[in-house]
Amino acid sequence: MWLFIATEVLLFGGLFLLYSMYRLKNPVEFHKASRELSLFAGTLNTLVLITSSLSVALGIFFFKANKIKQARIFLLATIGFAFVFLIVKAFEWTAKFHHGLYPNSAFLDKQPKGEILYFGLYFMMTGLHAVHVIVGIGALSVVYFWIKGNKLTPERPVWFENAGLYWHLVDIIWIFLFPLFYLIS
């Protein structure tokens, strides 16, 4: 699992590198484009993901302490937070589309090159992150049903731990996406 996480760090690392190069070349446009994002939505989603990270950690903690009921509650809470994150993200993206801010739109194509790059990276990176959130929901749900069906027990919690590690990774990636896209205006 840790090896997979290392490959994920490099996957997003490549995108962060791309971001930093384009930012170096287009600092003013990046600042201006960043103002279009909703700081409120971004902050809200940061708090949601941090709390979901806590709840999956608590779920694993209680599971290993043989408190299955609490573990299942915290696992469900984590999945719930993940859906909240996606819903907020969906509202954000919809608002951007309404303002004509999406790759290759007639409006965005007329903007300076730096802003086109900024929004290209924004949709690419938050989109890839959202895919990870969806995969995380899948992994956590599988763990939930395995626990429910007694296939996953506290004696061998490793699959729950792996799903948890993956979920923390999703949180960490967002911890970096948030300042780079929302906090630079």
């Binding site: 170096l24 004696e155 970096f176 300042p179």
Partner: protein
């Protein structure tokens, strides 16, 4: 999956109570507040350094406490993520060196 795997799983240790988790969570919330307020102060070029430093601190907290790297006894796993980050830093450093010195 056999007995050997089960033993590996049991190597993973965890704290005695949920208090460290709650403490880390509160710290993460506070750091988020600090980074958002700090970014709105218009500190200019310092902003990016401040927000990225806070992001790095938050990640280390998640890695050490939520992901239990603090209790990890296997050296390879302990060094894997720092090693990956060093590799990434080399990539970024070399690319910067190239781009900045090119006219």
């Amino acid at each position: 999956m056999n007995a050997a795997h089960a033993e590996i799983a049991s190597v993973h240790e965890q704290p005695a109570s949920i208090r460290p988790y709650i403490a880390v969570w509160i710290t993460l919330l506070v750091l988020t507040g600090v980074t958002v307020t700090g970014a709105r102060l218009n500190l200019g070029t310092v902003t990016i350094i401040v927000v990225l430093t806070i992001a790095a601190i938050k990640s280390v907290l998640v890695l050490l406490y939520f992901m239990h790297l603090r209790h990890e006894k296997r050296l390879l796993l302990k060094l894997l993520i720092p090693g990956t980050l060093v590799l990434l830093a080399i990539f970024i450093g070399l690319t910067y060196a190239d781009v900045i010195t090119r006219q």
